[in-house]
């Protein structure tokens, strides 16, 4: 598995605030990678570093084996859709396609036109009059028609209504299937990530909490509930991610690559949302706590 994005000790500081500090991660090739994490985790900064829109304060990042935005060739290999899906309000949809033709040697005009037709966008319409969903689709069209090897999307659906969100993700998935492009997208909305991602990274405070294939992650995490007991007494192969206790009962979310054999536990599968929240709340507390707490995992 070769990495399309490899960061090591990556840091970015704005003034006195660290937007990203000492972040090390690798994004695999040929996957749709979801990046989740709470606000301020450094997701946007990480993505902007990856497209070369900001320069790192420290550490290194390589994208497709090169420094981000190193030159026109490198820029051509990476497509980017920003949070706000910015387009030129005064230019028409057709102007945007022409812009793409002029600025990208690998521009796939057939693809761009086909998508605009499918989306039912009037090419003569000014981009400023488009709805949020249409604007996001136009921005995605521009990024796709460049025919990049890697597509980076920063919260692409955060501002969209549920219907537009579904449409956007559906057309993203179609394009991914058709053009074999690696994708990295960040989102708050775990349900959306679940629909499109096959690889997941949970980032909290610049640190990767967990990374892996979605199916493997779901297979290796379990929710255990049973009579109250000390989590310290679990086998070494089982890592407790979160725990909650009542007077009589203990609820755990654990990671293990082996089957859970202890008959005292009722074992249930976890949802992706449970898993993400578990890692986020564990990171929030620093180290996994070894004292009884209530109501952490619902």
């Amino acid at each position: 598995m070769s990495a399309v994005i490899a960061a090591s000790g990556l840091s970015k500081r704005y003034g006195r605030t660290w937007a990203l500090r000492d972040c090390t991660l690798a994004i695999p090739e040929g996957r749709v990678t979801g990046l989740v994490g709470p606000n301020g985790a450094g997701k946007t900064t990480l993505l902007r570093l990856a497209v070369g829109m900001v320069a790192p304060t420290g550490g290194t990042i390589t994208v497709l084996g090169q420094r981000p935005a190193a030159g026109p060739a490198q820029l051509a290999r990476v497509g980017f859709v920003d949070q706000q899906a910015p387009v030129y309000a005064r230019l028409t949809v057709a102007d945007h396609l022409r812009l793409g033709t002029w600025l990208n040697p690998g521009w796939d005009d057939g693809l761009a036109r086909r998508r605009i037709r499918q989306l039912d966008l009037d090419p003569k319409r000014r981009a400023g009059t488009l709805s949020g969903g249409q604007r996001a689709q136009l921005a995605l069209t521009l990024a796709l028609a460049k025919r990049p090897e890697l597509l980076i999307l920063d919260e692409p659906v955060a501002a969209l209504d549920p219907l537009a969100r579904r449409e956007f993700l559906r057309s993203l998935m179609e394009a991914v299937a058709e053009h074999e492009v690696s994708v990295m997208l960040s989102s708050h909305l775990i349900a959306d990530l679940e629909r499109v991602c096959d690889y997941l990274i949970v980032l909290v405070a610049s640190q990767v909490q967990v990374a892996g294939e979605v199916s493997a992650l779901l297979a290796s995490h379990h929710r255990l509930s049973g009579p109250r007991r000390d989590p310290g007494s679990l086998p070494a192969s089982q890592e407790v991610i979160t725990e909650s206790h009542t007077d009589r009962q203990t609820n755990l979310l654990i990671q293990t690559d082996e089957p859970v054999l202890d008959p005292a536990w009722a074992v249930k599968p976890v949802s992706l949302e449970d898993l993400v929240l578990a890692y986020m709340s564990r990171a929030d507390d620093g180290r996994p706590a070894r004292r009884p707490r209530l109501g952490v995992v619902s």
Binding site: R48, V51, M53, V54, A55, A69, G71, P72, A73, L75, A76, V78, G79, F80, D82, Q84, P86, V87, Y88, A89, R90, L91, D95, R98, L99, G100, W102, L103, N104, P105, G106, A139, L142, A143, K146
Partner: protein
Amino acid sequence: MIRLSLLQFRTQAVIALVTTAAYAVVLAVTGPGLASMYAADGLSSCRGGSCQEMADYFTGSLIHTLYGVLWPLSEGVIVLAPAVIGLFWGAPLIARELEAGTSALAWNQSVTRTRWLAVKLIVGALAAMAVTEALCLMQTWWAAPISRAVAQGASVGVGQSRFAELNFATHGITPLGYAALAFALGLTAGALIRRTTPAMALTLAIFAALQVAMPLWVRPNLAPPDHTIRPVTSLGNALPQQTGPGGTTFTLYAKIIPGQPGAWILSSGPVDAAGHATRTTPAACTSVGNTGTSTGANGSSSPAGTGPSAVVDCLASHGIREAITYQPASRYWRFQWTETAIYLALALGLAGYCFRRLRRLRC
């Protein structure tokens, strides 16, 4: 990339073209009238010494005509053009992209930021310089009769030296430099502040300050001035003024230097026989001066033996001469080139800074 800059430049270009065309029409319609007035005043056929009086009459009488209004207005447009360009072309170029977030779109195409800026900068700067210089050339054509009258010695009304602040800044090649600098200034302010409106305000403030400082403090020193001491009687336009109680002091300005037509007089002041600056009226001239003040101030002609000319004669007979610091008219193009070069160099410096900044700029 050129096509994109032209596409995005459309609105500004149309406004600039319409404005320039309107300016051209006004000048084209009124220009022949001005030229025929020049001919009607007999200036095209005059020879010798009478020319100066006729030229003075021509430029003086223009003040009360339409041309007397159009002349400062047409020069004013050329003065304002670079500032407007800096504000509306330069300042938004980077700032608006950052403000609207479209920099994320523009800088993620297969074109480096450096190339993006280079093309935008060249297109914008060339257009800015072309528009301003076009205005300048049109006005030069229109005002040619006035310039000829000035060359023939006119010094009243609209007949002002080529070195006069407004004339110097609106003719020749200086508008090229102003346009380039104003554009680069707007660009830099936009890249620094990242917001269009404050960048426009900053551009205007700095450019206005520069355009005031340049003629006042910088331009006179672009070449070491010449000095001369002339007898006061030979100064056609010397103006004695009585100041202070009892008429004991006087001031004397030179408006022209005989034998140096079109020279730019930087400063002038009376000196005594020993060559020291003086302001004290010799006692013998005090009484002459008192009468001179009252009649001279009314602008009425003075009887013989009184009035301004009598004072000047009296001062001259007591060894008072006029020391003049000036730039000869022959240095006009040297000044034009030097000033333009300074502005272009500043503009290049700012542009270079923008390239460096853009590479680090987060969008």
